[in-house]
Symmetry: C2
Subunit: 179 residues, 2 copies
């Protein structure tokens, strides 16, 4: 600790700060793993579908939700982009949803190569029920939290995701600087 400068601006201070961050990350990493386990292997989606009598599989529900949140018909490619998956994956799910009558495909009048995917009334109702159930569960889990903590969680989680995404991008492409 230099007597001239605050600790953080000295070389030793920066090193100690980095070490502190690494300690904190070491504590957070298992939490992230655990959270992933709860969300994926806890069959959260499957249980919500059971509770709301919607019987499609997980990625299909994901497509249906995407449509529901967009409030307008979407192209297959647009759905794929928003879900960050490749086209054929969406095509499969759209096929399944169509067979169950939850969506319809119409050729885009503006470009006949493209298909517009739109939820049917039944599809919209199913998505709405499903989402209410899921959101209700999460909201209940947070019911005992102080308002400030709930706000902070949303804020920090969002920033964390963004910063992590940005930082990982720089590992691939070092010409991009992180704002």
């Amino acid at each position: 600790m230099s007597p001239q400068q605050p600790d953080e601006t000295t070389a030793r201070g920066a090193a100690r700060d980095q070490e502190l961050r690494e300690q904190q990350v070491l504590a957070v990493l298992p939490r992230l793993t655990q959270l992933g386990n709860v969300l994926n292997r806890g069959r959260l989606v499957e249980r919500a579908m059971e509770a709301t009598a919607v019987r499609v599989d997980r990625p299909a529900m994901s497509v249906l939700l995407m449509l529901h949140m967009s409030d307008q018909p979407l192209r297959v490619g647009e759905i794929a982009t928003r879900m960050q998956v490749v086209g054929p994956h969406v095509t499969r799910q759209v096929n399944a949803l169509q067979q169950r009558g939850l969506i319809v495909r119409v050729t885009d009048p503006e470009d006949q190569r493209a298909r517009l995917v739109e939820a049917t009334d039944e599809g919209k109702a199913a998505a709405e029920r499903y989402m209410r159930t899921l959101v209700g569960w999460f909201a209940d889990a947070l019911a005992g939290w102080p308002e400030q903590d709930r706000q902070d969680l949303g804020r920090l989680l969002g920033r964390f995701t963004d910063d992590l995404t940005a930082h990982l991008a720089t590992l691939d492409d070092p010409t991009v600087s992180e704002g």
Copy 2:
């Protein structure tokens, strides 16, 4: 808003509070999805293995990390429990790690039904390199954060995971009350 009581204790206040929570959850859910995508499909694990010249697949690395963090040999069943997976899955990964010389299996002298899995020197070094790389990335991503935010993220993420796990458990088994 009753003039007699603070809003939160009235029926209308509680309903509004619930609605507020649901709004906040609606904002958080996409973030969780996005975070899951970054962590899983961002091939984070694969890239860290590439960077540290460890070439096993993801679940195998997960087993190796588990061993590394325990600082002592573990049984196959114990690894499975800690990873929240079934035994055969661990067996597969242990087989792969053994073939690459990163771990050894020895019969547990205290119970010859069981196998103790222990990292070799090479395995320990690989796990250490891998973890340093990964933790470094996360720590760098959080480098610009105020110290308070980093602390809060760890705290809230941990509590969120715990509360969510507990709440989901009550959905299966309503006899359990949530502390």
